[in-house]
């Protein structure tokens, strides 16, 4: 049998097993998972039972045909681990325990699937609810299972240790226990271990180290959660030692991580809430303990589960989301990654719209009134723009301005902001002489166009008789729609443009951005994306360059042949362009195990994410062409930022991680200039210069400059100055 065919399911099974361990702490870190796996074998029977439970769930999930992602992420199996692990701890081995483990696993699995299906509808996690419910049921039922014997593995601790490692192990554990560590810290570690039913200092220390390796923010939150609780117990007058022997301190730790950094983007606000919710967890802990003690049941993780679920549900019900609490949308299973990815997304793409609108005019235009304008863009009509042309002297007219012809704006053509269908046309209203305004027909000659459900554009004050289309016509953005006039409430020729959600001429405006436009400022020109021009700005549309559009038009299935020099060796690899069910395109280096996700919206090519090694040439391509607007404009500089979790040095990021929720001082900035074109009319090659610099505050740590040569024959060459990079040159051939 082909070994390779066996490898894939096995490696996804291994992923599923490991993730089931780390998932308890919301992590997918393998080192962390391995540490936990090892400490569960402190009591071999428990470790075995736990592993068996995980395997049973995974096999069941696979057999029943569940989603691969759910399986490999361990999402359907971590609850089972928490149920079968204590079974191996409390009961002695035998056929009865085997049966218990199997059927407790099945029960927990069903509960996990059911709760997942139910809560996912509300965008809520099912946390460890399946574990709590299942373990209660199993514990209650087990009382009558007379074939099941209570084990002695946890009763005679020293015997067990002696059996495992002789007198040395006993001595070193005893030494550790006798160390003059403050009680609070000891209790913290014991609570950490207690998450996996390991009530020893060693286990707790190991879990804490694992957590630290997996996430600095989560580790910090574990401290904050626990010690806030410690403090609160003191203040409210609960016996602090109860934390020590009831082992439920982990509720504070998990709640703090969940609220402070996992389900929300970590920030000062989430840290504040993590502390604020400690007393609530306490109420539940103490109160439920009273209640459940009647049934001789432990609260386990119930307080954490209740509080996190309540809080997340509350957060989702908010109408105004601007209070610094941002639910995580794309879960990276790591608070740092979530934070860095989110802040990068906020900077780059948060305004991204599915429909790209261009300015409804060609050439450079002046915004004489923007949103919330002084004159008429108010109340329901505040999200509109007025476009005019101005001359060298900043005036809208020449000569004396007594005739409409004197105005630069008069009779200039209007184009649809995007392709769409003409919804309604108002024409035949005469153009006012300059200075006059027709308040009876406020909007004058107007076209309303339909683009998508609930998304219309409106063009007003058009020149009488200049509208070229009728309702029902499809107009593409390169077709002249009409000419700017002076009809309606318009004292001088201008174009009133707005987005609206309804098709009427009097509809209220809709706050919607333009896709891309160039902004001319006295000393520089910048590219704005998904933004709204402001009053007084000079704006124009991006002119699409044929060569760049052609070369960066990467089609799924396309093979890129890449050759590069690394040291003395010349190498050749192939990359493949692929796309997934969500239409996310990526370039994949199958052998090197690297993938770079990109978008090409017709106006710009840009990368969104990278996974793999930073020494892979695909990473060099990812950074060198991080954002390439498909134009040629030597006066334009493009700025962007590459996500920290992809680009920063690991040890520096470790330092940054500690304070990342409050301040991010590391930065990887990307800068790009259009250097030259070998020919203005029939270019064979365009040269771009990009610089990627890693910075602390604003001090540059290092910088990699790259000359990107894009050729008409489909070749992209990345050329690095000598010894500045791992590579001297990377040649990517897109057509072959």
């Amino acid at each position: 049998m082909d070994i390779k065919r066996l490898q894939r399911p096995l490696s996804s099974l291994a992923d599923g097993v490991l993730n089931s361990y780390s998932q308890v702490f919301f992590s997918d870190n393998r080192v962390f998972a391995a540490i936990i796996l090892i400490i569960t074998f402190q009591v071999p029977l428990a470790g075995l039972a736990g592993l068996a439970g995980v395997l049973i769930s995974l096999v069941l999930a696979k057999w029943l045909g569940f989603d691969k992602k759910l399986i490999s992420k361990g999402l359907l199996s971590y609850n089972t681990l928490l149920v079968t692990l204590p079974l191996g701890l409390y009961f002695s081995s035998g056929p009865a325990l085997v049966l218990m483990v199997i059927f407790a696993s099945i029960l927990t699995f069903f509960l996990a699937v059911t709760l997942h299906g139910w809560l996912a509808r509300y965008e809520l996690p099912f946390l460890s609810w399946p574990f709590i419910i299942s373990l209660w049921i199993v514990m209650l039922a087990a009382r009558r299972f007379s074939a099941l014997e209570v084990g002695d593995q946890t009763l005679f601790e020293w015997n067990r240790l002696y059996g495992m490692g002789g007198i040395n192990l006993v001595n070193s554990v005893e030494w550790l226990n006798q160390l003059a560590i403050p009680q609070a810290i000891k209790t913290y570690f014991i609570s950490m271990g207690a998450v996996f039913f390991q009530y020893s200092l060693v286990a707790g220390v190991l879990v804490a180290i694992g957590l630290l390796i997996s996430s600095r923010i989560a580790f910090l939150l574990s401290l904050i959660g626990f010690f806030s609780a410690y403090l609160f117990y003191h203040v409210i007058g609960i016996d602090i030692n109860s934390l020590d022997y009831t082992y439920i301190g982990f509720n504070y730790i998990l709640m703090s991580i969940a609220i402070g950094g996992f389900f929300l983007i970590p920030s000062a606000y989430t840290f504040f809430w993590a502390v604020l919710l400690v007393p609530v967890v306490t109420f539940l802990t103490v109160g439920m303990e009273e209640l459940l003690s009647m049934f001789h049941l432990s609260v386990y993780a119930l307080p954490f589960n209740v509080v996190v679920l309540l809080f997340l549900f509350t957060i989702r019900q908010r109408k105004n989301r601007a209070t610094g609490l941002h639910p995580v949308v794309v879960q990276h299973n790591n608070p740092e990654r979530n934070l860095y990815a989110w802040s990068n997304y906020q900077n780059r793409l948060s305004q991204k719209t599915s429909l790209l609108f261009r300015l409804p005019v060609m050439g450079k235009w002046f915004i004489s009134q923007g949103h919330d304008g002084r004159y008429t863009h108010q109340s329901d009509w505040r999200h509109a723009w007025d476009f005019v042309k101005i001359g060298q002297d900043n005036k809208t007219w020449q000569n004396n301005g007594h005739k409409l012809d004197d105005y630069h704006t008069w009779a200039k053509p209007v184009y649809p902001a995007a392709g769409g269908i003409v919804d309604s046309v108002t024409d035949g209203i005469p153009d006012n002489p300059p200075g006059d305004a027709n308040t009876l027909n406020n909007w004058g000659n107007t076209v309303v166009m339909w683009h998508a459900a609930g998304l219309y554009t409106k063009y007003s004050h058009l020149k009488s008789g200049s509208i070229r289309f009728k309702p029902g016509d499809y107009v593409s953005p390169d077709q002249e729609l009409a000419q700017i006039g002076n009809s309606g409430r318009s004292p001088e020729p201008h174009l009133h443009f707005q987005f609206q959600a309804t098709p009427f001429i009097h509809s209220a405006t809709l706050d919607y951005p333009f896709g891309y436009y160039l902004l001319d400022e006295p000393e520089k020109r910048t590219l704005r994306s998904y933004d709204r021009p402001l009053e007084g700005q000079i704006v124009s549309n991006l002119k699409i360059d044929r060569l760049l559009s052609k070369v960066f038009h990467l089609v799924p299935g396309q093979i890129l042949r890449v050759s590069y020099h690394s040291g003395e060796k010349a190498r050749e690899v192939t990359w493949e362009v692929q796309t997934d069910a969500y239409n996310q395109s990526s370039i994949r280096d199958r052998e090197g195990g690297a993938t770079a996700w990109f978008t090409n919206d017709g106006q710009a090519f840009y990368f969104t994410h990278f996974e793999g090694s930073r020494s892979n040439p695909l990473y060099a391509f990812f950074t060198a062409c991080f954002r390439i607007p498909l134009t040629f404009d030597p006066g334009l500089t493009i700025f962007d930022q590459i996500p920290l979790f992809i680009s920063a040095r690991r040890w520096m990021r470790w330092i940054q991680d500690w304070i990342a929720p409050f301040h991010i001082f590391l930065k990887t900035s990307y800068r790009m200039n259009y250097e030259s074109q070998d020919d203005p009319l029939a270019p064979e090659m365009m040269t771009l210069k990009t610089q990627v610099s890693r910075q602390i505050a604003d001090d540059r740590l290092d910088e990699i400059a790259c000359t990107v040569e894009v050729c008409n024959d489909g070749e992209i060459r990345l050329i690095y100055p000598k010894e500045s990079s791992r590579f001297e040159q990377i040649t990517i051939n897109t057509r072959n």
Binding site: V361, M362, G363, K364, K389, G391, Q392, D393, Q398, D405, H408, W410, A411, K412, P413, S476, D478, E480, K543, I544, R546, S549, D679, P680, L681, A682
Partner: protein
């Protein structure tokens, strides 16, 4: 209190009732200053006569024209017509504004290179290109617009000995419904000569056919002629793309836009007949955008308009030399500038304005220049204020052609100054003197004293 101005007495017929078919005679407003500087001061500092160019007007007019096209077409390129005014300072203003150079001789080509224009941004037009000129243009990757078959063959010869492939276009002439038809330049469209030239270029395998060029005439006041021309050019480009599988990268519509100077013999004044840049642009871009090109691969539109861009920015200031009467009693004004400097007065009725405020009375007059030649007549008959010897005048709209077509005849050519946007005068061409004229002369030794 300043002394009142003396005005010679004049008899004027009283007009009342409805104005005649020519309307109310226009008043000639005085032009006391140009670009913020008093004309009096300029004439004192730089002598009379004096050509004055206003940089602000040049830039404003250029941007207005560019705006008109760029608000309608995605790829527009202007190329400054050197022959219209090839003073280095003037060319540099256009190049700063982003204009290429359009030249029609080896001399103009050299001038463009000397002005620092990239060879790839020079268009070489005209029927006169020597093999040396062609070689130079090929070396610099300039666009050579082929005018006739003989030129095509010499260019193929040049191409054989050159490492660069010549980048060419053909000049096309056609019927655009106007008269005269400029069929002396280029290849005719209707009789198939143009397509034949295109085929020979492509079949030669030695030249890169980049574009198509036409120039339908000069001072064209009908935008329909441009619409027709643009339609025909686009159709030709598309048929080349379809039949010969060759992509045309640009369509050069030449120049010929009218300025606001009124032609001699025109019934209406130019202010009423000259189309605006928007109207020209609408006709040309409308025809090309609707022709059926792939919207993502529209050919670049090149414009070589000269006159309409610079005419308004130029002034000629001068002085009244004498006031006389002809034998029939008509008033006769003699200025210190004539057809030697104002070459365009052969076809325009130039407006000549007084510098100082006048009393409002005008009389019919004939305007002469200073040359001792009978042809030196600026206006046969026009109404002028009652000027006297030493009064200063300003001729409007002389930016185009005069500073290139002028002649050194009988007397020297004067200073030319440019008024910069912040309002200071810069001498951009020095007046000639005896030495500058004699320096290029040689006297055989037997004739020397």
């Amino acid at each position: 209190m300043t002394k009142k101005r003396f005005t010679p007495p004049a008899i004027k017929r009283l007009q009342s009732g409805m104005p005649g078919k020519a309307g109310i005679p226009s008043q000639l407003n005085p032009i006391p200053d140009i670009g913020g500087i008093p004309v009096k001061q300029l004439l004192r500092d730089y002598g009379s006569p004096l050509f004055i160019l206003e940089e602000n007007t040049i830039r404003n007019t250029y941007r207005k024209a560019k705006d008109a096209f760029e608000s309608r077409y995605p790829a527009v390129q202007f190329a400054w017509s050197y022959k219209t005014n090839y003073l280095d300072a003037v060319c540099q203003i256009y190049h700063q504004e982003g204009s290429w150079a359009e030249v029609v001789s080896g001399f103009e080509y050299q001038k463009a290179l000397a002005n620092g224009v990239d060879g790839r941004q020079i268009i070489f037009n005209g029927p006169d290109k020597s093999p040396e000129d062609l070689k130079l243009a090929v070396e610099n990757h300039s666009y050579i617009h082929i005018d006739h078959f003989d030129e095509l063959y010499s260019l193929i010869k040049v191409a054989e000995s050159s490492t660069n492939r010549p980048r060419v276009a053909i000049r096309v002439n056609m019927d655009t419904g106007i008269f005269p038809r400029w069929d002396r330049f280029g290849f005719n469209l209707e009789n198939g000569e143009a397509m034949e030239a295109v085929k020979q270029i492509i079949e030669s395998g030695k030249l890169d056919l980049m574009g198509l060029h036409t120039h339908i005439g000069t001072y064209i006041i009908s935008v329909n002629a441009y619409r027709t021309a643009a339609e025909k050019m686009a159709a030709l480009a598309l048929s080349i793309e379809r039949e010969l599988k060759h992509q045309i990268r640009y369509i050069d519509m030449g120049g010929g836009f009218a300025s606001l100077n009124t032609l001699k013999g025109a019934y209406h004044s130019a202010a009423d007949t000259t189309p605006t840049f928007d109207q020209y642009a609408e006709a040309i871009t409308g025809a090309i955008t609707r022709a059926g090109f792939d919207p993502s691969a529209m050919p670049m539109l090149i414009l070589e308009t000269g006159r309409a861009l610079i005419d308004d920015a130029g002034y000629l200031a001068g002085t009244v030399l004498a006031v006389k009467r002809l034998s029939d009693g008509r008033k006769n004004l003699v200025f210190d500038f004539g057809v030697n400097l104002l070459f365009t007065s052969f076809w325009y009725d130039h407006e000549i304005h007084p510098v100082e405020e006048q009393n409002g009375f005008t009389e019919d007059a004939t305007l002469f220049g200073p040359l001792c030649m009978n042809i030196d007549q600026l206006r046969d008959q026009t109404r002028m204020p009652l000027l006297k010897q030493g009064d200063q005048v300003v001729v409007k709209r002389v930016g185009a052609y005069n500073m290139t077509q002028w002649m050194q005849f009988i007397t020297y050519r004067p200073n030319i100054i440019l008024i910069s946007p912040e309002g200071s005068a810069h001498l951009i061409r020095k007046a000639e003197n005896l030495e500058s004229i004699r320096s290029s002369e040689e006297t055989p030794s037997h004739l020397k004293k």
